[in-house]
Amino acid sequence: MADVGLAPFQILAAFLFACGVACFITKRNAIGLLMGVELVLNAANLNLVAAARFVPGLRIEGQVFAIIVIVLAAAEAAVALAIFLNFYNNHATVDVDAANDLKG
Protein backbone atom coordinates (compact mmCIF):
# COMPACT_ATOMS: atom_id res chain seq x y z
CA MET A 1 0.00 0.00 0.00
CA ALA A 2 3.02 2.30 0.28
CA ASP A 3 2.86 3.12 -3.43
CA VAL A 4 -0.82 4.16 -3.21
CA GLY A 5 -0.25 6.86 -0.61
CA LEU A 6 -2.55 8.82 1.64
CA ALA A 7 -4.16 11.11 -0.96
CA PRO A 8 -6.26 8.49 -2.88
CA PHE A 9 -7.82 7.34 0.38
CA GLN A 10 -8.60 10.93 1.29
CA ILE A 11 -10.25 11.48 -2.10
CA LEU A 12 -12.33 8.30 -1.67
CA ALA A 13 -13.36 9.46 1.81
CA ALA A 14 -14.26 12.91 0.46
CA PHE A 15 -16.46 11.30 -2.19
CA LEU A 16 -18.26 9.16 0.41
CA PHE A 17 -18.75 12.24 2.59
CA ALA A 18 -20.24 14.17 -0.34
CA CYS A 19 -22.57 11.24 -1.11
CA GLY A 20 -23.72 11.23 2.50
CA VAL A 21 -24.45 14.97 2.42
CA ALA A 22 -26.34 14.51 -0.87
CA CYS A 23 -28.38 11.82 0.90
CA PHE A 24 -29.32 14.31 3.66
CA ILE A 25 -30.57 16.79 1.09
CA THR A 26 -32.34 14.57 -1.43
CA LYS A 27 -33.88 11.82 0.68
CA ARG A 28 -37.21 12.52 2.29
CA ASN A 29 -37.52 9.12 3.87
CA ALA A 30 -36.08 9.22 7.40
CA ILE A 31 -34.31 5.89 6.96
CA GLY A 32 -32.65 7.25 3.82
CA LEU A 33 -31.30 10.09 5.96
CA LEU A 34 -29.92 7.51 8.38
CA MET A 35 -28.07 5.85 5.49
CA GLY A 36 -26.53 9.23 4.67
CA VAL A 37 -25.31 9.51 8.26
CA GLU A 38 -23.73 6.07 7.99
CA LEU A 39 -21.92 7.11 4.80
CA VAL A 40 -20.57 10.29 6.44
CA LEU A 41 -19.34 8.44 9.52
CA ASN A 42 -17.69 5.78 7.37
CA ALA A 43 -15.93 8.47 5.35
CA ALA A 44 -14.50 9.92 8.56
CA ASN A 45 -13.46 6.42 9.65
CA LEU A 46 -11.69 5.74 6.38
CA ASN A 47 -9.72 8.96 6.82
CA LEU A 48 -8.75 7.91 10.36
CA VAL A 49 -7.56 4.47 9.33
CA ALA A 50 -5.64 5.82 6.34
CA ALA A 51 -3.94 8.31 8.68
CA ALA A 52 -3.13 5.44 11.06
CA ARG A 53 -1.45 3.59 8.21
CA PHE A 54 0.55 6.46 6.73
CA VAL A 55 1.37 8.79 9.65
CA PRO A 56 3.88 7.11 11.98
CA GLY A 57 2.62 8.89 15.12
CA LEU A 58 -1.00 7.75 14.70
CA ARG A 59 -0.62 3.99 14.35
CA ILE A 60 -2.64 3.19 17.49
CA GLU A 61 -4.65 6.40 17.78
CA GLY A 62 -6.23 6.25 14.33
CA GLN A 63 -7.56 2.75 14.92
CA VAL A 64 -8.74 3.53 18.44
CA PHE A 65 -10.71 6.57 17.24
CA ALA A 66 -12.14 4.53 14.36
CA ILE A 67 -13.41 1.88 16.81
CA ILE A 68 -14.96 4.60 18.99
CA VAL A 69 -16.69 6.04 15.91
CA ILE A 70 -18.04 2.58 14.99
CA VAL A 71 -19.49 2.15 18.49
CA LEU A 72 -21.05 5.61 18.48
CA ALA A 73 -22.49 5.01 14.99
CA ALA A 74 -24.12 1.81 16.19
CA ALA A 75 -25.62 3.65 19.19
CA GLU A 76 -26.81 6.47 16.92
CA ALA A 77 -28.45 4.05 14.48
CA ALA A 78 -30.27 2.26 17.32
CA VAL A 79 -31.68 5.39 18.93
CA ALA A 80 -32.53 7.05 15.58
CA LEU A 81 -34.46 3.97 14.46
CA ALA A 82 -36.32 3.94 17.78
CA ILE A 83 -37.27 7.60 17.25
CA PHE A 84 -38.41 6.89 13.68
CA LEU A 85 -40.53 3.95 14.84
CA ASN A 86 -42.13 6.20 17.44
CA PHE A 87 -42.74 8.83 14.76
CA TYR A 88 -44.24 6.21 12.48
CA ASN A 89 -46.56 5.05 15.27
CA ASN A 90 -47.84 8.60 15.70
CA HIS A 91 -47.93 9.85 12.10
CA ALA A 92 -48.14 6.65 9.98
CA THR A 93 -45.35 7.92 7.72
CA VAL A 94 -41.56 8.38 7.81
CA ASP A 95 -41.58 11.42 5.49
CA VAL A 96 -39.39 13.96 7.30
CA ASP A 97 -41.52 16.81 5.93
CA ALA A 98 -44.41 15.52 8.05
CA ALA A 99 -42.40 16.21 11.24
CA ASN A 100 -43.69 19.76 11.67
CA ASP A 101 -45.58 19.49 14.94
CA LEU A 102 -43.25 21.97 16.64
CA LYS A 103 -43.43 24.47 13.76
CA GLY A 104 -44.44 27.88 14.99
Binding site: M1, A2, V4, L6, A7, P8, F9, Q10, I11, A14, F15, L16, F17, A18, C19, V21, A22, C23, I25, T26, K27, R28, N29, A30, I31, L34, M35, G36, E38, L39, N42, N45, L46, V49, A51, A52, R53, F54, V55, P56, R59, I60, Q63, V64, A66, I68, I70, A73, A74, E76, A78, L81, A82, I83, L85, N86, Y88, T93, V94, D95
Partner: protein, 182 residues
Protein backbone atom coordinates in the same frame (compact mmCIF):
# COMPACT_ATOMS: atom_id res chain seq x y z
CA UNK B 1 1.12 -0.21 -11.96
CA UNK B 2 1.78 -2.55 -9.12
CA UNK B 3 -0.68 -5.06 -7.75
CA UNK B 4 -1.76 -2.99 -4.67
CA UNK B 5 -2.58 0.00 -6.89
CA UNK B 6 -4.79 -2.09 -9.17
CA UNK B 7 -6.47 -3.70 -6.16
CA UNK B 8 -7.11 -0.29 -4.60
CA UNK B 9 -8.54 1.06 -7.87
CA UNK B 10 -10.98 -1.86 -8.14
CA UNK B 11 -12.12 -1.50 -4.52
CA UNK B 12 -12.41 2.30 -4.79
CA UNK B 13 -14.45 2.05 -8.00
CA UNK B 14 -16.83 -0.46 -6.39
CA UNK B 15 -17.22 1.70 -3.29
CA UNK B 16 -17.90 4.93 -5.20
CA UNK B 17 -20.38 3.18 -7.48
CA UNK B 18 -22.24 1.76 -4.45
CA UNK B 19 -22.24 5.14 -2.70
CA UNK B 20 -23.73 6.74 -5.82
CA UNK B 21 -26.32 3.98 -5.83
CA UNK B 22 -27.29 4.82 -2.24
CA UNK B 23 -27.94 8.43 -3.25
CA UNK B 24 -29.61 7.84 -6.60
CA UNK B 25 -31.91 4.85 -6.05
CA UNK B 26 -35.53 5.71 -5.42
CA UNK B 27 -36.54 2.82 -3.23
CA UNK B 28 -35.19 2.60 0.32
CA UNK B 29 -34.67 -1.15 0.04
CA UNK B 30 -32.40 -0.69 -2.97
CA UNK B 31 -30.55 2.06 -1.10
CA UNK B 32 -29.96 -0.40 1.74
CA UNK B 33 -28.51 -2.97 -0.67
CA UNK B 34 -26.21 -0.35 -2.24
CA UNK B 35 -25.18 0.71 1.27
CA UNK B 36 -24.24 -2.91 1.93
CA UNK B 37 -21.89 -2.76 -1.07
CA UNK B 38 -20.35 0.53 0.09
CA UNK B 39 -19.78 -0.75 3.64
CA UNK B 40 -18.15 -3.96 2.39
CA UNK B 41 -15.94 -1.87 0.10
CA UNK B 42 -14.83 0.24 3.05
CA UNK B 43 -14.11 -2.92 5.05
CA UNK B 44 -11.93 -4.17 2.17
CA UNK B 45 -10.15 -0.79 2.23
CA UNK B 46 -9.37 -1.40 5.91
CA UNK B 47 -7.97 -4.82 5.03
CA UNK B 48 -5.86 -3.24 2.29
CA UNK B 49 -4.52 -0.71 4.78
CA UNK B 50 -3.46 -3.53 7.09
CA UNK B 51 -6.07 -2.93 9.80
CA UNK B 52 -7.48 -6.46 9.92
CA UNK B 53 -9.17 -6.11 13.30
CA UNK B 54 -10.93 -2.93 12.23
CA UNK B 55 -12.06 -4.49 8.95
CA UNK B 56 -13.53 -7.45 10.83
CA UNK B 57 -15.22 -5.10 13.30
CA UNK B 58 -16.65 -3.10 10.38
CA UNK B 59 -18.06 -6.25 8.80
CA UNK B 60 -19.54 -7.50 12.06
CA UNK B 61 -20.96 -4.24 13.43
CA UNK B 62 -22.10 -2.52 10.24
CA UNK B 63 -22.94 -5.29 7.82
CA UNK B 64 -24.14 -7.70 10.49
CA UNK B 65 -25.77 -5.24 12.89
CA UNK B 66 -26.56 -1.76 11.69
CA UNK B 67 -27.67 -2.73 8.20
CA UNK B 68 -29.94 -5.50 9.46
CA UNK B 69 -31.43 -3.00 11.93
CA UNK B 70 -32.01 -0.59 9.04
CA UNK B 71 -33.67 -3.21 6.86
CA UNK B 72 -35.97 -4.03 9.79
CA UNK B 73 -36.79 -0.33 10.03
CA UNK B 74 -37.61 -0.24 6.32
CA UNK B 75 -39.78 -3.34 6.70
CA UNK B 76 -41.73 -1.91 9.61
CA UNK B 77 -42.24 1.61 8.26
CA UNK B 78 -42.83 0.95 4.54
CA UNK B 79 -46.46 0.98 3.51
CA UNK B 80 -46.08 -0.73 0.14
CA UNK B 81 -43.43 -2.99 -1.32
CA UNK B 82 -41.69 -0.15 -3.20
CA UNK B 83 -43.37 2.92 -1.73
CA UNK B 84 -40.66 5.51 -2.25
CA UNK B 85 -41.29 9.05 -1.10
CA UNK B 86 -40.40 11.04 -4.20
CA UNK B 87 -37.84 13.81 -4.26
CA UNK B 88 -38.59 17.09 -6.03
CA UNK B 89 -36.29 18.03 -8.96
CA UNK B 90 -35.18 21.21 -7.19
CA UNK B 91 -33.95 19.08 -4.29
CA UNK B 92 -31.94 16.93 -6.71
CA UNK B 93 -30.31 20.06 -8.15
CA UNK B 94 -29.62 21.51 -4.70
CA UNK B 95 -28.26 18.24 -3.33
CA UNK B 96 -26.09 17.58 -6.36
CA UNK B 97 -24.58 21.04 -6.41
CA UNK B 98 -23.92 21.14 -2.64
CA UNK B 99 -22.38 17.67 -2.71
CA UNK B 100 -20.14 18.38 -5.71
CA UNK B 101 -19.02 21.70 -4.23
CA UNK B 102 -18.21 19.96 -0.96
CA UNK B 103 -16.33 17.21 -2.80
CA UNK B 104 -14.27 19.73 -4.77
CA UNK B 105 -13.51 21.67 -1.57
CA UNK B 106 -12.44 18.59 0.37
CA UNK B 107 -10.28 17.21 -2.45
CA UNK B 108 -8.57 20.56 -2.99
CA UNK B 109 -7.77 20.94 0.68
CA UNK B 110 -6.73 17.35 1.31
CA UNK B 111 -4.35 17.50 -1.67
CA UNK B 112 -3.00 20.87 -0.62
CA UNK B 113 -2.60 19.94 3.04
CA UNK B 114 0.85 18.84 4.12
CA UNK B 115 1.30 15.16 3.38
CA UNK B 116 2.93 13.30 6.27
CA UNK B 117 6.67 13.07 6.30
CA UNK B 118 8.16 10.64 6.97
CA UNK B 119 5.54 8.28 5.56
CA UNK B 120 5.32 5.05 7.47
CA UNK B 121 6.32 2.15 5.22
CA UNK B 122 5.25 -0.77 7.40
CA UNK B 123 2.43 -2.61 5.67
CA UNK B 124 0.74 -3.80 8.87
CA UNK B 125 -0.94 -1.87 11.65
CA UNK B 126 -1.08 -2.83 15.34
CA UNK B 127 -3.66 -5.57 15.65
CA UNK B 128 -6.22 -6.41 18.32
CA UNK B 129 -3.63 -6.97 21.07
CA UNK B 130 -2.03 -3.50 21.16
CA UNK B 131 -5.42 -1.83 20.54
CA UNK B 132 -6.96 -3.70 23.45
CA UNK B 133 -4.00 -2.82 25.67
CA UNK B 134 -4.38 0.86 24.73
CA UNK B 135 -8.11 0.71 25.53
CA UNK B 136 -7.44 -0.91 28.89
CA UNK B 137 -5.03 1.82 29.92
CA UNK B 138 -1.74 -0.02 29.44
CA UNK B 139 0.49 2.76 28.14
CA UNK B 140 2.61 1.98 25.07
CA UNK B 141 6.15 3.27 24.53
CA UNK B 142 4.85 6.82 23.95
CA UNK B 143 2.59 6.73 27.01
CA UNK B 144 -0.78 6.97 25.24
CA UNK B 145 -3.69 5.11 26.82
CA UNK B 146 -7.41 5.34 26.22
CA UNK B 147 -9.07 4.05 29.38
CA UNK B 148 -11.28 7.13 29.91
CA UNK B 149 -12.66 7.26 26.32
CA UNK B 150 -13.28 3.52 26.54
CA UNK B 151 -15.31 3.95 29.76
CA UNK B 152 -17.21 6.95 28.39
CA UNK B 153 -18.11 5.10 25.19
CA UNK B 154 -19.24 1.99 27.08
CA UNK B 155 -21.48 3.94 29.42
CA UNK B 156 -22.78 5.96 26.48
CA UNK B 157 -23.63 2.79 24.53
CA UNK B 158 -25.39 1.27 27.56
CA UNK B 159 -27.46 4.41 28.24
CA UNK B 160 -28.36 4.87 24.56
CA UNK B 161 -29.45 1.26 24.13
CA UNK B 162 -31.63 1.44 27.26
CA UNK B 163 -33.15 4.66 25.91
CA UNK B 164 -33.73 3.08 22.49
CA UNK B 165 -35.47 0.09 24.05
CA UNK B 166 -37.63 2.50 26.09
CA UNK B 167 -38.51 4.62 23.05
CA UNK B 168 -39.35 1.68 20.80
CA UNK B 169 -41.37 -0.31 23.35
CA UNK B 170 -44.81 -1.51 22.36
CA UNK B 171 -47.38 1.08 23.34
CA UNK B 172 -51.11 0.88 23.51
CA UNK B 173 -52.74 2.86 20.75
CA UNK B 174 -54.65 6.01 21.86
CA UNK B 175 -57.93 4.39 20.79
CA UNK B 176 -57.24 1.38 23.00
CA UNK B 177 -56.42 3.71 25.89
CA UNK B 178 -59.75 5.52 25.56
CA UNK B 179 -61.49 2.18 25.49
CA UNK B 180 -59.81 1.01 28.68
CA UNK B 181 -60.69 4.26 30.44
CA UNK B 182 -64.28 4.02 29.33
Amino acid sequence: MSFPVILFLIVAATTTFSALGVVLSRSVVRSAVWLLGALIGIAVCYFLLGAEFLGAAQLIVYVGGTLVLMVFGVMITNQGPFAGIHTKPVEWILGGSVASLLFAFLVTFSLRAAQPSPVSNVDTLPSAGPIGAAFLGVPDERGTAFLLPFEIVSIHLLVVLVAAAYLARAKRRPAAKVESHG
